[in-house]
């Protein structure tokens, strides 16, 4: 009948980049193009392009952004549920210090078989535990996530200050096993350290898989889109939230592990202030603080935009003092543009064609079936 004539679009199950993310891709391309041109113009003859060189792309952009992007994926899940987690920087520090404390007990030349499980499980375990604490408090006491994670941020950072014997681990004279640092996280492939980049991409892929293909992801969007309707549909809202904060903690643990392996040390100030950049990255990436919106790819692209701006300040030799000002303004501009395009999109689709006269209600044979 009438309704059957409505065109059904073919399933776009594997649409990697949504329309909203297309805008971010354009911004990234634009920034990269400007920096490439400048880098080429600015480079002295015979020297490589300042921007378009593997040194800059990997060590200057990909590696530093990996911590942010990994955490931004986890935080995006939290933001989709309509929550927030500002303790991720502190969790990252606790995870890195915990990992360092465990690894410095091993001999520097311990075999990878022994080192890697410890190096991976200890920081991620600590991150997961912290995330469960956050989620448990938020769900169990039904407190606002901002307040809870404001508290746990302080608690986790405080523990990071108190628990280790020294401000920086490994302690003086000790070293982390090379199996984790030089031979794993700083492993050179064709002269490039690709491990942080690879781990970041794996995390984004897992986040995409979770949100896009798994039932758990659908539940995440439902809770954020309308928590009460989700409850009225029989979803276990508490469990879904708990799971989400646990994943955000886990992601912060992974970021701590990457940072520990790359620098070979962790200090009480590791990850300090990262939470703000991570929130900014998620929001620039299209996550809505009202909940219900956000993607893993968006989190990656949002982080990339911020990383490119940071890198651009170096390449263009702008005064470093203005770094924070520029980044702050860029975040506000990015979110306003996103909002604006959203409004325009709605306006375009607003004037619906006048509804056709309702069909006479004579329950036909097909409605009876």
């Amino acid at each position: 009948m009438d309704a059957a004539a409505v065109p059904v679009r073919s399933p776009r199950r594997f649409r990697f980049v949504a329309a909203q993310e297309l805008g971010l891709v354009l911004v990234v391309i634009l920034l990269a193009a400007v920096l490439s041109l400048y880098g080429w113009y600015d480079a002295s003859p015979g020297r490589p392009n300042l921007f378009l060189s593997f040194d800059n792309l990997i060590d200057g952009i990909a590696t530093p952004m990996s911590y942010y992007a990994i955490m931004a994926v986890g935080l995006t899940l939290v933001i989709i549920t309509g929550g927030i987690d500002i303790s991720v920087g502190a969790i990252m520090a606790l995870a890195a210090l915990g990992g360092a404390a465990a690894l410095q007990a091993l001999p520097p030349d311990a075999p990878a078989m022994l080192v890697l499980p410890v190096a991976i499980l200890v920081p991620t375990g600590i991150g997961l535990l912290c995330g469960l604490v956050n989620g448990g408090l938020i769900v169990g006491l039904s407190l606002h996530p901002f307040i809870v994670t404001l508290g746990t941020m302080s608690v986790f950072r405080g523990l990071a200050n108190v628990l280790p014997a020294e401000k920086t681990l490994p302690a003086a004279g000790k070293h982390l096993p090379a199996a984790f640092t030089t031979d794993f996280m700083r492993l050179e492939i064709m002269g490039m350290q690709l491990m942080p980049l690879a781990i970041m991409l794996i995390c984004v892929a897992l986040g995409w898989f979770y949100l896009r293909l798994m039932v758990a992801g659908r539940e995440t969007y439902a809770v954020g889109g309308n928590e009460e309707a989700a409850r009225f549909s029989g979803l276990g809202v508490g469990a879904i939230k708990l799971r989400t904060y646990a994943i955000a903690g886990l992601a912060a643990g992974v970021a701590g592990m990457v940072s520990l392996g790359r620098f070979g040390t962790a200090s009480t100030s590791t990850g300090s202030g990262y939470e703000l950049t991570v929130i900014a990255a998620a929001v620039v990436g299209g996550a809505s603080l009202q909940g219900g919106r956000g993607t893993a790819i968006g989190a990656l692209l949002g982080t990339l935009v911020i990383a490119l701006i940071e890198n651009g300040i170096l390449i263009l030799r702008l005064a470093q003092e203005y770094r924070l000002v520029i980044i702050g303004l860029a975040i506000i501009v990015a979110v306003s543009l996103d909002r604006l395009s959203g409004c325009l999109g709605r306006r375009r689709s607003a004037p619906l064609p006048a509804a056709p006269p309702p069909p006479p209600v004579t329950p036909g044979p097909e409605t009876r079936s």
């Binding site: 309704a3 679009r9 399933p11 009225f232 029989g234 509804a355 069909p359 209600v361 409605t367």
Partner: protein, 508 residues
Amino acid sequence: MSAPFIQFRGITKTFGGVTALDEVSFGIARGECHGLMGENGAGKSTLGNVLAGIHKPDAGELLIDGVPHRFGSPRAALAAGVAMVHQELAFCPDLSIAENLCMGHYPRRWGGLLLDRDAMRRHAGQLLAEIGVVLDVERPMGGLSTAQEQLVQIAAAVGNTPRILVFDEPTSSLSEPEAQALFALIEALKRRGLTMIYVSHRMPELFRLCDQVSVLRDGRYVGSLARERMTPDAVVRMMIGRSLETHAPRHLAAPAGEVVLRVRGLASPGRFQDVSFDVRAGEIVGFAGLVGAGRSEVATAIFGLDSRVTGQVGLDGAPFPLRSIKAAMGVGIGLVPEDRKRQGCVPGMPCRANISLAILGRLRRLGMLNFTRERQLARRYFDRLQVKAASLDAPVNSLSGGNQQKIVLAKWLARGGRLLIVDEPTRGVDVGAKAAIHALLDDLAREGLAILLISSELPEVIALSTRVLVMRQGRIVGELPHADATQDAVLRLMAGVGRAACGIRKKV
């Protein structure tokens, strides 16, 4: 009727795809109390809101005293002398009555630096005295009863010395004595020469207060009746525009089956008590009652959403635990809730995701969502319910109210089950979708589903239900089989008063 005081000319207003007002044109004389009637969704509140500047009409002209107006905000309407007393009262509960009353024009001293508390108290006291109300203006707004809040709102509205005062369903949450007091106040205001628009669907009130009643149906102006021609028959005919029982529901012909839902001694402190009833397979059991009588509360309690409920519930003869949605859903109960936007659907998600929301567990394969099955399912219910949407992927909030409701219904049909509770299934739904939803419920009952129907629209409950249960003040006060369920009989039970007080004498 030469040069009416207020003149609507071709007022049109649409929300999304739904036309709320369609070229409405009529006039209102100076100094009269003019009733606006219509069924839910007929557009009467929307017209009141257009007059008060809350909605901006898409087309048409509004003349007050011959001067054309096009209000962009309530403030602009107020400047032109139109004030409104809203259905939902908006105040700051933590501020005092005086602070709420003077909001927007606080008296100041010391060159505007300090709030002049004494002047504020005096001014607030004057505003209340103006309408003959005595209240301590220091009391916080949050501690007042609904009726008192409404009085404060009227005081604020009258304090702006309006020429026109719009009331939108003012008695919807008032008790009978409170309503009587309000009527006395409205009559006093009328004697002062204010022109009043009274939006309501309650006939006795309108007959008592109004000099003239205009009826809207499906967003269109149907006609006006002067006081001497106002009879329940005439008004109802104009409101409904057809005889009530055009489609006799067909499920009534089939004998009811086994008892599906059995409720015994259900009680929840402060909400309802001693509620016992059965719903059989193939039956539609209607719940009638005034707002606040406890109908929706019983429905949500059966669905496991009331943490303080006690009593026994059983499905197909087997008891199931209360206070758990999982248990209720597990035995096959579904709930189409009263508040579609807040409880029924996730507005930003695609239609297909809303339809599959209650069966995500069944669509799970190794943790992944089976998108193919989800689409097939959504497709099937799109066809069966004749949902009008751009595609299966269109977000629910891009649909009209009626189609949104079909999506919520589809969510429970997809899950299947034994008992479907539908709470106000046609609120804010256009006529076409309304008829479709009625036909669907009839069909479902004939297929053997047990249905519990809650609705504030009497014609709907009466026409569809196998039996009508009437609730008043948290108790079931009567049961009427379909044949005996007349408007008159149901209204009498609802109000708990005699024949005369109802103002309706016979079935329409």
